[in-house]
Amino acid sequence: MEVSVNLLPPMFGIPIALSRYTYIYNKDSTEIHCLKEHEGPLKLQYLDKHFLLVSINKFGQLIYQDVSTGEIVANYRTRLGRTDVMQKNPYNAVIGLGHSGGKITMWKPTSVKPLATMLCHNGPVASIAFHGEGHLMATAGMDRKIKLWDLRKFQVIRSYAGHAKTLDFSQKGLLAVGNGSYVQIWQDSLGNQNYGPYMNHSLVKGYQIEKVCFCPYEDVLGIGHSRGISTILVPGSGEPNFDTWVANPYETTRQRREKEVHALIDKLQPETIMLDPSNIGTVRPPVKKERPSKQEIEAEEEAAVSAAKNITLKNKTKGRNKPSKKLKKKQEEISRAKRPFLEQQRNGLPVKRLRTDEHDLPRSLQRFVRKKSS
């Protein structure tokens, strides 16, 4: 059972993943919706600019649902088994899933295949966290390693030894690593992704930490554990200067309502999610079609003509085996072999070679290749 940490805007309610379905409750704990499509959910995430509620379920299905209109945008089978490690990348709204084979896949709602698949660990992935600026990812696996990845090159930057049940990046780049009953906070003081320990906080020994989460715009880390929630102060983790038009901790009811309306008007379509969000509006690189050179075309033509010349025709019986007819038939075959090349010259398109050789065809079609009659 899990409560999603990124709440929906207050007008929609609070989604909770229960064992059978996902339910949405309002502030007074009344059940508003039962989302039947999200069956057996394990984790929920919310993409706020797109108004998309994402869930991963115990069958390994990733479901995107638009909360403002209610339609299911996508329902993909990850085909990598049950996984409950899901995190959203705040920079480009891509969902990262960690699987039990050590792979991490990145998904967008408009493609069946994942955007990227990375083999990160030798064992199951325990937790993922994305840096706010989009270039850094921290992953922890059951192979007792915590790795830092560069998301632009998809390469590992650093590897640390340690366990981590949960990871989270703060707005200022501090990394909270939660394991057992203590949480470590790491910091890269020089900004070169060389993370070193900064703070340590341990709870009472029996308490198991489930999830850590930094509070935005405050120097506070929230720790969810088996006996409740704790909050600790972490100096330097929050962004001190907020922008009123982005996120205002002191907003009034009227400002909140205006913001909701503007967010709905500026709702992004799911097609705008991509690995590099700055690609929108840029020029598409020209697709260079590989054109075969003139010599290659001529060679192909010769090969086709010689293959046609080598065809042995069946000898017909009952007086239908005239030599003039045989010659005519042979010439027909040769001109048929030449025709696509003439058409190509006229239209300027590359010719599609007929796959007549046994080795070109897939195995199930090989028996339909023209047999050379004996």
């Binding site: 003081s189 715009y217 102060l233 500026d266 969000p277 929108i280």
Partner: protein, 556 residues
């Protein structure tokens, strides 16, 4: 999740400096006494800052002074977010974000809400996608609010042949029809202010002087006589005493005084008239080009080149001695008043119906041609057109520039009015109505906001220059929002979805079909040329650029 704020009500026993909270004495004592046992208790959600004391352990050592050092330098506060010093176990001081409500909220309900800005792009992920969505929505809203037609002014009983705008009075426009009726209209109320009777036949040309006092009209009457009338138009007061001194016809309508200054009769045929900028001279076009003065009844000078009628004339706004005319021998001629003979002549393949000078670039002029194109020329280099504006499907009858010099409006025989950019080959806007028939004259208002078209169906129509513009007084916030939407649409206008919406215009069926047919014809000609070129010796066939193709020759 509890947000920790410094709460002044909690520690009101001691006067606190803002941002610096002293620990309560008893708490500090407790903390100092048993730090270890404290830490082992279950940590409760802390509402105050000091219970329980937070154990800040620096792994890797470090003295007291090194505590603030590892904090990133960007932790400096641009806002008045104050840091709170947390005294831990009586030994170290650590700075945490702490904001006081009074600095971030307004004092009274009649104050404005406070806004704080942080322009860091890291706080705004996917901003290009947001901008693109806004551009798309703005394009759609533009189309929803596009209502360019304001109203029609009817009163004439015959088709409107020419119009004149008064450079000093924004609200009025003169129009003249084919039956000799000259009227002054008030654009705001769309009614006739006064009429100027006197012409017996069609009025061919109308022009007002730069100071707005003189209106010149010329035409042909049905008995083949020609009238040239002079009207002095004074706003405001009635001048009763000065009437008799002129001795000509005097008309008093409401509070305006109109005096017919000079009636010039001649047997010559006048086709157009234009007034010189900032001067007393005006030019008429007919069998030749005559230059007149207000007070004389004989022309001051005449120009002639060739034996064909001159059908339109225009003075240059920037260079007052320069004028250009177009004649029925398909030529455009440039004249300089200081010389005794015409300066230059350009002969094209088809006749030019009207010419307009660009007010902001006075060396360029645009000619509205009979072959449904407009050609922009540089007067210094007439052998090649600067730009060819192609979008009409029938002869272009009239053309007028916007006072900004960035675009011009054309009216055509194919019942449409189009607005072109001054350097672009395609129109940015087309206006058409079922009731508007052949458009014979168009004018761009002097403030660049309205377009007035006069057509064959005896109506003058008033249009907006920007179809979705909000007229009237706009609040500064609305204006800023509109400017932002225009800018964001401009940035993304090349993307296919936005382009499709911005470009889309409904065309009347005959124009759509005519345009398709024109396109096919041009395409076939082009293909034929291409094949001829491909099958002949390389270099034997040369294609002329389109800007030169319609010019026959230039003559000194």
């Amino acid at each position: 999740m509890v947000l920790i704020r410094s709460n002044p009500f909690r520690f009101n026993r001691m006067p606190c400096r803002p941002g610096r909270v002293e620990p309560c004495p008893e708490r500090a004592a407790d903390a100092a006494a048993a730090p270890r046992t404290r830490a082992r208790c279950a940590p409760r959600c802390s509402k105050t800052l000091f219970s329980p004391p937070i154990r800040v352990v620096l792994l890797g050592g470090g003295s007291l002074s090194s505590v603030p050092a590892p904090l990133p330098a960007t932790h400096r506060r641009a806002q008045s977010t104050s840091s709170c010093d947390v005294t831990v176990s009586g030994s170290m001081k650590v700075k945490v974000i702490s904001r006081s409500t009074e600095e971030f909220t307004r004092e009274r309900s009649q104050d404005l809400q406070r806004t704080f800005r942080n322009y860091d792009p890291a706080l705004r992920p996917q901003e290009k996608a947001v901008e693109y969505t806004r551009a798309l929505n703005a394009a759609k809203l533009d189309k929803i609010f596009a209502r360019p037609f304001i109203g029609a002014m009817d009163g004439h009983v015959d088709g409107i042949s020419c119009m004149a705008k008064n450079p000093n009075h924004l609200k009025g426009i003169f129009s003249a029809s084919m039956d000799g009726d000259v009227r002054l209209w008030d654009l705001a109320s769309r009614r006739t202010v006064c009429q100027f009777p006197g012409h017996q036949g069609a009025v061919r040309g109308l022009t007002a002087s730069t100071d707005g006092d003189i209106l010149v009209s010329c035409g042909t009457d049905c008995t083949d006589f020609v009238h040239l009338s002079h009207w002095q138009f004074m706003h405001g007061s009635m001048l009763s005493g000065t009437f008799q001194s002129f001795g000509e016809r005097v008309f008093i309508i409401s509070c305006h005084v109109i005096i017919l200054l000079n009636l010039i009769l001649s047997v010559k045929d006048y086709r157009a008239v234009d007034h010189q900028w900032n001067s007393n001279l005006f030019a008429t076009a007919g069998a030749q080009v005559d230059i007149w003065d207000h007070n004389r009844s004989e022309p001051v000078s005449s120009f002639e080149w060739g034996k064909d009628t001159v059908i339109s004339v225009r003075f240059n706004p920037g260079e007052p001695n320069l004028l250009t005319t177009s004649a029925s021998d398909r030529s455009i001629t440039l004249y300089d008043l200081r010389m005794s003979s015409p300066a230059r002549k350009l002969i094209m393949k088809t006749k030019t119906n009207a010419i307009a000078w660009n007010p902001m670039e006075p060396m360029n002029f645009t000619a509205a041609n009979e072959d449904s194109n407009c050609y922009s020329y540089d007067a210094r280099k007439l052998d090649e057109a600067k730009c060819v504006h192609q979008d009409h499907v029938s002869a272009v009858m009239d053309i007028d520039y916007s006072p900004t010099g960035r675009e011009f409006v054309t009216g055509s025989y194919d019942r449409t009015v189009r607005i072109f950019p001054y350097n672009g080959g395609r129109s940015r806007e087309i206006y058409h109505t079922k009731r508007m028939q052949r458009v014979f004259c168009v004018k761009y208002s002097c403030d660049g906001t309205y377009i007035i078209s006069g057509s064959d169906d005896t109506n003058l129509r008033l249009w907006k220059a920007k179809a979705s513009e909000q007229l009237g007084v706009i609040l500064p916030r609305e204006r800023k929002k509109q400017e932002y939407l225009d800018a964001v649409k401009e940035r993304y206008k090349h993307l296919p979805e936005v382009k499709r919406i911005v470009r889309h215009r409904h065309l009347p069926k005959p124009i759509y079909k005519a345009a398709t047919m024109r396109r096919t014809m041009i395409e076939t000609e082009r293909k034929k040329e291409k094949r001829r070129k491909a099958h002949s010796a390389p270099g034997s066939i040369t294609t002329q650029p389109f800007r030169k193709r319609r010019i026959i020759k230039e003559v000194e």
